[in-house]
């Protein structure tokens, strides 16, 4: 791992009204890597993703993407720069067709001109979406809806993809399929930041991880490094997991 980070978050504080959700958080993502954010509910993972996406703004600290300060941009401007988020709970547009959901993903200026190429790529990752392109999105299964949410994110032609709780509520066989797709997406040169509660799986798939605890970065490092930390073992895995 070398050169300048793709995204550099430095010492940010973020509030929900008067409640402080993130405290002095710093995170770096290197171009091409797959980075995981681990933590319990309310540890601030989703808040961090929403701040990167411009839905929230930091009270303190900076967020730089490719060297440009993006902390105060609106969400649509962030998408135009090449950061897309696949939100928790998938949040597909339930009453629109699968194809329309995908097309909405390419709404922003630069992605719209590449929509047919990107659509083809999405169909390569998820052939089932092509079969069901005319179906109303809410009639898809949970796994297919997650594929649609990821596909819709890819239609924005991102450099960095933020994926929140992808495997929540899905069967293991579906989760395997989704992680396989993430690997292909990574091979295309798209950097991935994903949030998971399934720690074991996360450390297997990610190059590096950050552990958040009550809005603070508790630990960070490569999967192997984190496994060797006693605190991590106790808090998250149980010994046998890390031994593998």
């Amino acid at each position: 791992m070398s050169d300048k980070p793709l995204l550099r978050i430095t010492n940010i504080d973020v509030f929900h009204g008067t409640f402080q959700a993130l405290w002095d958080v710093s995170v770096e993502i290197i171009r091409g890597e797959t980075l995981a954010l681990i933590g319990a509910n309310t540890s601030g993972k989703t808040t961090l993703l929403d701040t990167i996406s411009g839905l929230l703004h930091p009270a303190k600290g900076t967020i730089e993407f490719e060297g440009k300060d993006i902390a105060w941009l609106d969400p649509y401007q962030i998408v135009e720069l090449g950061i897309t988020q696949v939100p928790e709970g998938r949040r597909i547009f339930p009453d629109m067709s699968v194809l329309d959901n995908l097309l909405i993903g390419s709404y922003n200026g630069s992605a719209r001109s590449k929509k047919s190429q990107n659509l083809e790529k999405v169909y390569q990752h998820f052939p089932r979406l092509q079969e069901r392109r005319k179906q109303i999105a809410k009639t898809l299964s949970g796994g297919e809806q997650q594929m649609l949410a990821i596909g819709r994110g890819l239609m924005a032609d991102p450099k960095l993809m933020l994926i929140d709780e992808m495997s929540l509520g899905l069967a293991p066989i579906v989760i395997d399929e989704l992680f396989k797709a993430l690997e292909q997406i990574k091979e295309r040169g798209i950097t991935i930041l994903f949030v998971e509660q399934n720690v074991r799986r996360t450390l297997k798939e990610a190059d590096r991880a950050y552990i958040l605890e009550t809005g603070r970065v508790a630990l960070s490092g490569t999967a192997t490094e984190l496994c060797e930390e006693d605190r991590v073992k106790k808090a998250y895995f149980g010994v046998e997991v890390c031994g593998v």
Partner: protein, 288 residues
């Protein structure tokens, strides 16, 4: 208004009148569907469209329907400005603020129209206002047929816009999930501006056809807002086709109610039906 002892006449009148009700309600339905805003000023904005037609007719001698060429762009800009400078900011303050702003716009329009046009009742009388057409032996006012036709055309145009254009899809997406729409790169503030502006196009058209059908005063907006509410409650907020069918149902209930129970109770029967629909199916007959 009704042929005696003949049910076909009130039925046809109800269907045609329902087209006008739908035309009035489409903009209300669209703004609610997209922004979850109950636009209390909608009736007054429709009446503003009626006065616009009246002004162009009396000052420039334009036929009210031809006058739409001028009033539609003006209402479009007014709608965009209302959303951008008033509603958009109000959304940032609290969820009640836009409702109060809408109420304020309603009062301002009523009073401004009273100063400009006096409280006297006005009408858009044209050379064809008093013509009629016949189905078999029965005669119907031509304006009612024009209302119905305009209602269908505007409903189909809005539907096609929402389904087939990129902006329409973005408006639909923002109405189904605002956060997800933002994350997909949709500038929701701008999309809301367009949605309000497009609703105002339908209000301009509704105002003209309303003015050709019924006399109006500066405070008429209130009663037509009530009718528009009834229409969208029956049809389902946000669905253009549902709103249209809601208008037809409301029109038929009104004229048949008058036929069976006398003209004095026709609106009472309409609102009893609205309450029944609200109690049994609050999302409307065709709502999601």
């Amino acid at each position: 208004m009704m042929g005696s002892g003949d049910i076909i006449t009130p039925l046809v009148m109800g269907i045609l009148l329902g087209g006008l009700y739908a035309l009035i309600a489409l903009g209300l339905s669209m703004v609610f569907g997209v922004m979850r805003l109950i636009n209390l000023a909608h009736g007054d904005l429709v009446i503003l469209g009626s006065y616009g037609g009246y002004a162009l007719m009396t000052l420039l001698g334009l036929d009210p329907i031809v006058g739409l060429v001028i009033s539609i762009p003006l209402m479009f800009l007014l709608g965009f400005a209302i959303q951008k400078y008033l509603m958009g900011r109000a959304f940032g303050i609290s969820s009640e603020a836009p409702l109060i702003i809408a109420f304020g716009i309603s009062l301002v329009l009523q009073n401004a129209n009273q100063i400009l046009w006096t409280p006297l009742s006005r009408a858009l009388n044209t050379s064809y206002s008093n013509l009629s057409f016949s189905i078999g032996l029965r005669q119907f006012p031509l304006t009612y047929l024009l209302d119905f036709t305009a209602g269908i055309i505007v409903m189909l145009a809005l539907r096609a816009f929402l389904i087939h254009t990129y902006l329409g899809k973005a408006i639909t997406a923002a109405s189904q999930d605002k956060k997800a729409a933002q994350l997909m790169g949709i500038n929701t503030k701008r999309v809301y501006g367009y949605a309000f502006a497009i609703a105002m196009i339908s209000a301009a058209i509704a105002g003209v056809f309303l003015g050709m059908t019924f006399p109006f005063t500066p405070t008429s907006g209130v009663s037509f807002l009530t009718i528009a509410f009834g229409t969208v409650i029956i049809g389902g907020l946000g669905s253009m086709l549902g709103t249209f069918i809601g208008g037809i149902i409301l029109g038929i209930v009104q004229t048949l109610g008058g036929y069976f129970f006398g003209p004095a109770s026709q609106m009472l029967i309409v609102y009893v039906i609205v309450l029944v629909v609200l109690a049994i199916r609050p999302q409307g007959l065709f709502g999601r």
